[in-house]
Amino acid sequence: MKRPTGQFMGNDEDEMNRILSQADEILPSSGFAASVMDAVRREAAAPPPIPFPWKRALPGLAVGGLMLVLVLRALLVAMAHAVKVTAPQSMSLPSGMPPLFHGGIESAAIWAALALLTALVSVKLTMRLAFSRI
């Protein structure tokens, strides 16, 4: 029997296992460990990461949260108003709502846009404050 060179004999999976198990091994270069330890020492000597400036961000977050609540409330009112317009005159706005919320869906959209703008400004401001300390 003759085994043609370059061809798999017997179970091809065994041959595949044999080929792929014989991967080339490389040795680490002589300065590798020292280089890693230098990097580790630099890492250890580096100051700890600056914590997030919660004290500065908190007012902005509080205002943002308040705005979100107001916008949601305005949206609810606008929806109730829309229902009132289409349905018989059986519903009325809550008595505690400020007059600005009585303008219908357009007013709610303006409030939503204002809230988004405020959120954007507060995020930008917070990031600027945070990065200016690095």
Partner: protein, 187 residues
Amino acid sequence: MSATDDQAAVEKVLAGDISAFEGIVRRWQGPLINLAYRFCHDRGRAEEMAQEAFLRAYRALGQWRKDAAFSTWLFALATNLYRSELRRIPPRTVPLDDVAEPADARASDGGLEDHDRDLAVRRAVGALPARYREALTLFYFHEMDVTAAARSLGLPEGTVKARLSRGREILRSKLPQRLAVPRLEEA
């Protein structure tokens, strides 16, 4: 250095003795560089990736829960890093369809040299889709231990077995002549 030495070194490092990390580096530099090399086939890049793996291991040393061996944790961390590095900058590979296939490997007298065939099979593995290539790479790196490969990849064993099987199927379909069981000729 044994597994208990690893644990002792980790405890020293966590207590503030940074130099104890050198023992870990010296013990695991070979395996980590070779694992990286199997992924990228570039010596320089393999060392860079292994260095980054050690740095990340140093940063995350406190997260090693001792329910698994240190090596298992280290290989999983390194594998995760290597995979994301190679997704970011993929290594140069020959497309699977371009891996040389002889017109008729059995026709010529003597056929292809074993070396060429082995090289073609390895190149074909390198050209496999990442999920199959990674499963095969880890399987053979861990000396055909599916459990160890699955731990390194952070996948269930069944998934790894399925990927190994599918990867081999693709290799057989793309290299039909090289992976075919030849007809035996009478001497």
